[in-house]
Symmetry: none
Subunit: 241 residues, 2 copies
DNA sequence: CTGCTTCACTGGTCATGACCGGTCGGACCA
DNA sequence: TGGTCCGACCGGTCATGACCAGTGAAGCAG
């Protein structure tokens, strides 16, 4: 079980969460975890902390709680659930040929909401990568991504026509394993419309995403997809979505 | 502030959550809520309960917590977390008052894609229910639903201002437990725009959903939400390895 | 008036202890 | 052998009390 959980290495529930995530990954789906009270004794923390850690993993779909029975590793058959995929993977899944035009790469002061999303210091800078994404040589989306400079110090020196997630994982050791995103419909502003080959005001699907690596936010992206070329598919289930 | 929070009316945090959601919906965006300790005294509950209630509303995008400063009403629009729920339930979670105007109920020949989605015989008819959905008396969406006639033979005889899912479960024993949907951005056509109180061509979020009960498709819905009032949030995960 | 310090207050975190209702397996009885 | 009952154990909920770091405004010093 390696090092014990101690104060000073970040929040206790964050440490425990990482510990439990590792453990769950090595267990087969459906396997039972120790009871919450037992985890308290095992790691020397209170039940508040255990519940916080387990609760986060349940929210992520890694664990499943069953009242009266216990906590279990979530079943995850290879069904078509929402999954984390790069633009290229996504396009290839749709049978389209992906390509990318890098419009801008710069180390700049990020906007306030990005600063908040990435939990950056007030004076910290971040890499800003603006890219036009094409599918079968036709514009599909415009991505504005911001990356914390302390996670990816020399991001601008790398080839950014491919997957930044791969770069983050292979070069900087920050594998993106989780993301939260919101989706809304809005109208294309003139510059974006021109890039996408649309008339201004046409409907676009706007994604706002925060990608995390081990709980730490590493990327904040705003992607604007052409409404006439793209849609998101998802499945919903009773109980947990 | 109405009735106080009491034991026995469901979990205390659930009651408080509903109370706070209503309160937040009536406040302007950015307005500050009472501090957590103050809410404890106001409602006679412990801080554990307050934090649970507020935490849920933060997850739903209704409130925003700022460490050191306070808790505030989030900027528009209503953000719904991805889950299988009726319109009314969804809106109430966000602190909005749902209502419904039934525009059309008829047993008709469904369009081909609906026939396919519901796996209907070539000559089978289906109930068509068209409804305008309001939140706080303002248009939110227009729903076009088709229901297999052999699953719900006399659907048209029932009150359709409420949840059809509840009807399907309680009256016909077909509990909806799974659904697949796709989401895209498009432009409001003139009749839909008029119903939604939008100018024609404004962006809308269009859902195309097939709901299932025990594997059998029972509903095919196309819902068009106002792009300026609604958005969906979801989390993405890497597959287990 | 400006700049700095101080301090009340906020949410974030954590420990301890308690009770509830549901689950499940083993003991016990028919 | 089979069915029933019961108790250990589970997660869900809630109260109380505590300390921390960050915020922001009031107040003081220059």
């Amino acid at each position: 079980m390696s090092a014990p959980i101690t104060r000073g290495q970040g929040a206790l529930h964050a440490q425990l969460r990482a510990r439990l995530a590792e453990q769950a990954a090595r267990l087969p789906a459906g396997a039972a975890l120790p009871g919450e009270r037992q985890l308290c004794e095992l790691h020397g923390v209170s039940r508040v902390t255990v519940r916080e850690a387990v609760g986060q993993l349940v929210a992520d779909g890694v664990l499943v709680r069953v009242p009266g029975a216990g906590t279990f590793v979530a079943e995850r058959p290879a069904r078509s659930r929402l999954h984390l995929a790069s633009f290229a993977e996504d396009m290839r899944r749709l049978g389209l040929r992906p390509s990318t035009v890098v419009l801008e790469v710069a180390l700049t002061d990020p906007p306030d909401n990005t600063r908040e999303a990435l939990v950056l210091a007030p004076d910290a800078q971040a890499w800003h990568v603006r890219r036009l994404r094409l599918a079968d040589s036709e514009p599909m989306s415009v991505d504005d991504g911001w990356y914390a400079a302390d996670v990816a110090p020399d991001l601008g020196d790398h080839d950014l026509t491919g997957s930044v997630y791969t770069l983050l994982g292979d070069v900087y050791g920050a594998v993106v394993d989780r993301a939260e995103q919101s989706v809304r419909a809005s109208e294309a502003d003139p510059p974006t419309a021109q890039l996408l080959g649309l008339a201004p005001g046409r409907a676009v699907l706007a994604f706002d995403r925060v990608a995390r690596s081990g709980g730490r936010p590493v990327e904040h992206t705003r992607s604007v997809y052409r409404g006439d070329r793209y849609e998101v598919a998802m499945s919903l289930e009773l109980g947990r979505g």
